[in-house]
Subunit: 150 residues, 2 copies
């Protein structure tokens, strides 16, 4: 799979083979959805978005869990107690900032944590990954707040 273009059916099959996962209906459907849309989505949102009856919820959980193990999908904890899943585009490392009031999600590129990863590798860790989530109050919400109070 080349970087920087949309994932075709072919690409998805190739990805599954590359990761030594057998090619099944549910897996294809889930990857098709996650590669085509930005997400991040909860397991339930994925279930809702797939054609009705095309895939059992248990299979979604099982597939997502395998995808995470194989680093095809990554988890984001954007809100307390809500697990979001997102396709891990190899050429699009990013994080999110969520507004604590309106819950708008924006993407952050260039997190600058690579340096920290290198440091950890120097002290013996291998294959270091990170998960970063940010919260703030966005400009719009700040304006609303001020206009309400004063």
């Amino acid at each position: 799979m080349k970087h920087g273009h949309k994932y075709s059916e072919e690409d998805i099959l190739e990805l599954l083979k590359e990761k030594k996962l057998s090619i099944t209906g549910p897996r294809k459907l889930i990857l098709k959805l996650l590669t085509a849309e930005h997400g991040p989505y909860t397991a339930d949102e994925i279930f809702q978005k797939l054609p009705k009856g095309s895939c059992d919820k248990a299979s979604i959980y099982r597939s997502l869990s395998q995808f995470v193990d194989k680093d095809i999908v990554q988890i984001a904890h954007l809100e307390k107690d809500v697990v979001h899943y997102e396709f891990n585009h190899p050429d699009d490392h990013h994080h999110h900032i969520v507004c604590r009031l309106c819950h708008k999600v924006e993407v952050i590129h260039d997190c600058g944590i690579e340096r920290l990863e290198r440091t950890l590798e120097k002290v013996g860790y291998t294959n270091v990954k990170h998960r970063l989530e940010m919260v703030g109050t966005c400009e719009k919400c700040n304006l609303n707040k001020n206009s309400r109070n004063g």
Copy 2:
């Protein structure tokens, strides 16, 4: 509350007042535990560590949730589907790296994300916070793995 010393009963009362939370048995117990020990702990671990019968589990969840809202406690998602809570010492900003094999947790100081927070504040966000979690395979586990395979 001055920085850099242990939290006394007094400090805990002061903290609760400062955050406009009424002073109750469960809240004092939970904060006493979380300020005294490193953690991070799950809600259930906190329950186990408190004197038997001293505090209902529902109250632990309710208190923790309020503490998080008030920024007294912070959440860490060290493992999938496990929520850990940790006292947010104002002078001890840190993160964790968890070994993906032995699950050993180490503390990371100096994460370098402050720069990113400043950038976000420049584009209109206020009160930006972050949550960073890292995973890697620790040196010991790498050695074990190699000695098993080769």
